[in-house]
């Protein structure tokens, strides 16, 4: 009997396992030996100064072109992410909330959501939802995020305010129900009210089956989304890890000490 036939309990409990990850952009090394392990339902925060490699990490996980992995591995639910196209990773349950959500002129938000959900359902061998089923399902999600039908009719992110764009990201997460959500600076560009709506929206999506990797510069989003673990990223490596208190400590003392430690 091989290992694959009978996996030990501990193995199943790992949702994301990043080992010694090195990645370059345009030949320039950005990630330099990053390790990270997350279990199902856990919320981890990655904090770090500008240029520490936070966004690179999110793009590498999602599989963006131009982000070249030179060493190391990423296993997602035991499967090698590096072998998969970005859309396959999404089908496997990976979701990235973008720091700068992209505009798609002429494509209504509703149509985009439906195309996306049905593509993922098709990947998983599930039936597509018809228009009525889909509408009902989306309306259940929009209520808590304060998203109107009018917004759903508008072209994806075109003319959206900063708050609307981020709420739209959270709506997509709610509709697609990923098992791992990477939130890349989701708090950036939000005023206090918008931060509250987004923060509560994200917290509402916490579940034992869903892990979240919250990438942020500031601690403020973590007032709403309380992390199980906090990691400090500096110069392409995790240089410190701790519980939620570490985030508050960073807020007070800044990253200076950690950046030096990495150097």
């Amino acid at each position: 009997m091989s290992i694959a036939d009978h996996q030990p309990e501990e193995f199943v409990k790992i949702m994301l396992e990043i080992k010694d990850l090195h990645a370059s952009v345009d030949g320039k090394p950005i990630l330099k030996g990053l390790d990270l392990t997350m279990g199902p339902g856990e919320v981890h925060a990655i904090m770090g100064p500008n240029g520490s490699g936070k966004s690179t990490l999110s793009y590498v996980i999602a599989g963006r072109d131009g982000y070249e992995v030179t060493e190391g591995s990423i296993l997602f639910n035991g499967r090698d992410l590096m072998e998969m196209e970005p859309d396959e990773r999404a089908g496997e349950g990976l979701f990235l909330a973008f720091q700068y959500p992209v505009e798609i002129p002429g494509v209504s938000t509703m149509n985009f959501l439906k195309t996306s959900l049905n593509a993922i359902r098709a990947y998983r061998g599930e039936d597509e939802l018809d228009a009525m089923e889909f509408l009902k399902f989306v309306r259940e999600q929009t209520a808590t995020l304060n998203i109107t039908d009018e917004l759903l009719k508008r072209a994806v992110n075109v003319g959206f305010s900063g708050g609307e764009k981020k709420r739209n990201e959270v709506l997509q997460m709610a509709v697609l129900r990923p098992s791992l959500a990477v939130l890349d600076e989701t708090d950036s560009g939000l005023d206090v009210d918008a931060l509250k709506i987004v923060g509560e929206g994200v917290t509402g999506l916490r579940s034992p089956e869903r892990s979240m990797l919250v990438i942020t510069h500031y601690q403020r989003l973590l007032d709403y989304v309380i992390p199980d673990r906090v990691h400090v990223l500096a110069d392409g490596r995790i240089v410190a890890s701790g519980d939620a208190d570490l985030a508050r400590e960073l807020e007070e003392k800044g990253y200076a000490g950690f950046s030096k430690a990495a150097a």
Binding site: A62, R64, D65, G66, E85, P86, D87, R89, A90, G91, F95, L96, F98, P101, V102, E103, I104, P105, G106, V107, N111, F112, T115, S116, L117, A119, I120, Y123, A155, Q172, L176
Partner: protein, 486 residues
Amino acid sequence: MAVTQETVQTVQEVEKYKYGFVTDIDTDTAPKGLNEDIIRFISARKEEPQWLLDWRLKAYAHWLTMEEPDWAKVGYPPIDYQDAYYYSAPKSAEDGPESLDDVDPELLATYEKLGIPLHEQEVLAGVKNVAVDAVFDSVSVATTFKETLAAHGVIFCSISEAVKDHPELVKEYLGSVVPYSDNFFATLNCAVFTDGSFVYIPKGVRCPMELSTYFRINAANTGQFERTLIIADEGSYVSYLEGCTAPMRDENQLHAAVVELVAHKDAEIKYSTVQNWYPGDENGVGGIYNFVTKRGACRGDDSKISWTQVETGSAITWKYPSCILQGDRSVGEFYSIAITNNFQQADTGTKMIHLGKDTKSRIISKGISAGKSQATYRGLVKMMPNASGARNYSQCDSLLIGSECGAHTVPYIESRNRSAQVEHEATTSKISDDQLFYCRQRGIGEEEAVALIVNGFCREVLQELPMEFAVEAQKLVGISLEGSVG
């Protein structure tokens, strides 16, 4: 069997005709080449009256004096007009494939993607045994349509039938919008046109149905020189859908059609086209040369003509659906999507000629180029001295996919009236990596993502199409761009 007998009989009858050929005639094809005798042969086969034959011959004589235009931004080897067949009767059922199993699987895959029902697939592919059924079927469908239409006084038939049954209408309007001397390809069409559609909507009648499905089935056998004439009498309305939504593997290279529209006072004609002729393969081999002249005359006050086109096929497209706005307050519209991929070339646009007072025109053109293709928008807006208060708005957007294609915008504006207003906007953009990655992160595959983004880019035009057509057109956009990324 009956079909064969009929063909033989017809040929025998033709041979008796004094201008008919007695030698070297295949059962259903005229000899290669173009001369007066060929034109007489076509006219005779169609049992046309003398005036129409005279008109054809006049056009032919004029054509001999003309030179093929070379101003369009398209390149192709010289066409030998003597090395082509100008009359070929629809192939008999005997030549068709035995069943769908014998049809090119690539063709069937495309039908499948377009969601064309199986039965219709068989008709389009010309399957032998089924075709007889299907022809029978379509005849009965056509008859049902004709009865409904006849109850409203609408005439909808082939132009050959119209020549026989409504000669006075054909004589009055044929060549009245696109005269026989108009341009090289239109003049050639006048000389050798074989068939096409004829529509007449009487005064005050709103045509009770979109004139579409019947034509679509019929289009499978339409020849390379179609001639279409649509007349909307005072206060009438008609929406006409032209084209085939599946690729037609046509051996003939040259397709030179003419479409004439006439809208009288308070009448409206909406003419939609989805053109998906064979574009050639990915190396640019084969494909249709689509040289088409389409023009509408808004003859009466407050009339309106609206052209909507989705051009995805053909190796070369040369086409400028135009409006002559004669009546005061008449309106011309042109909504266009032109997609080129691989080695396709499209030079397309419109002409809006403002003659009447307070006439309005609106041009929305969306060009998408991929592969090594070239797409040109070429448009003329002309304000004549009497067109006081006339207005035009033009918007030409180009989208590039990849780095080896080209998009060109050539607007011509002539204004001879100080009170006329002309506005022109143009943009050129590329599908960004950001957009593609965003879609793919949401689980949408690369080709589907391109189709989604391009459909968004084209939305303003797609929404002008009748609902049923719009769905097919959206799918076609995706299919046309397959293989354009990655």
